[in-house]
């Protein structure tokens, strides 16, 4: 009743219709992306759907304050709202994570390669279908790492776009991203070995015939 007196019939005027049409056309095509991001945060289909719905309700409410630019701006805006909706839902504080040295994380990537090489699986990415293992490894990450690696390496956001989406400094994006990658690489190496893929590695370096003669 009160609503009715406050909101005269003119509120469904042509301009509101127009605005809603714009909103639908700009925001709804990103539904699969929002869903995928929501799922990466909740790791649960039904919670993800709730978050997606809440995201679109908020987006519609605040559409007037969103200045439409490029398509990817709208996607970024939606994922920002999605992340905030998730934070509200789980009362998660954006707790800060110990910042690791970016250069040490780069060295860790070379170590991961050395470990894979000595286990005989350094061609694991070419040889194995790691898709399910990768999705599983991402799901196991701490949420602070997961959201960064999903935005960067799955959705293809730049460091800057991630910093804006998550509201954290660039340096934090980098250190979380590199650390997330290290965790993923470690998980995938364990997976490749557990799955027995090292068995098909080429035979270890042959001893020289001279050595064998000496042995005999």
């Amino acid at each position: 009743m009160l609503e009715a007196t406050r909101q005269p019939r003119q509120s469904t005027s042509e301009s509101v219709r127009e605005r809603d049409r714009e909103f639908t056309a700009a925001a709804l095509p990103w539904l699969p992306n929002v869903k995928r991001f929501a799922l990466s945060l909740t790791r649960n289909e039904s919670d993800a759907d709730d978050i997606v719905q809440e995201t679109y309700l908020r987006a519609h409410r605040y559409w007037g304050s969103f200045k439409e630019g490029t398509d990817s701006d709208c996607r970024k805006w939606l994922l920002t709202i999605c992340r905030n909706a998730f934070n509200t839902a789980v009362q998660r504080e954006g707790k800060s994570v110990a910042v690791d040295d970016d250069e040490l994380e780069s060295l860790a990537a070379a170590r991961a390669h050395n470990a894979a090489r000595s286990a005989g699986v350094d061609d694991m990415y070419a040889r194995l279908d790691l898709g399910p293992a990768i999705q599983n490894a991402i799901a196991q990450l701490d949420p602070n790492f997961r959201e960064v690696v999903v935005l960067s390496d799955v959705e293809g956001f730049s460091y800057e776009e991630i910093a804006e989406t998550l509201g954290v400094p660039l340096g934090t994006v980098r250190s979380r991203l590199f650390r997330a990658r290290r965790h993923l690489q470690e998980s995938l190496l364990v997976y490749a070995l557990d799955a027995g893929f090292d068995r098909v590695k080429p035979a270890p370096k042959l001893r020289s015939p001279a050595k064998e003669t000496n042995d005999g």
Binding site: K35, R36, D49, V52, Q53, L107, H113, D153, G156
Partner: protein, 83 residues
């Protein structure tokens, strides 16, 4: 040998920013030059790129979730959306 080794280490320390194309121009050129002549470092960078390609390729397909689409539209209409 030692200077070679420390040069390699200095290069590898910039692996992720290089792979993400975030190095300043001068650094990027230095890393590029090194990789042209150091197969071992190059193999680390290639492995990192293969890892990133695999992560990107593993992304779940955009699924057109009709049920969710309908549910969101219904909720928006409840909220007063005019379409």
């Amino acid at each position: 040998m030692d200077s070679r080794r420390s040069e390699c280490e200095a290069i590898v320390r910039r692996l992720w920013p290089f792979v993400d194309d975030k190095l300043p121009d001068s650094d990027r050129e230095q890393v590029t030059r090194h990789l042209e002549q150091c197969a071992d470092c190059l193999s680390h960078f290639d492995f990192a790129r293969a890892f990133l390609d695999a992560v990107h390729a593993a992304r779940p397909a955009d699924e057109h979730d009709e049920a969710l689409h309908a549910r969101v539209l219904a909720a928006l209409t409840d909220q007063g959306m005019t379409i």
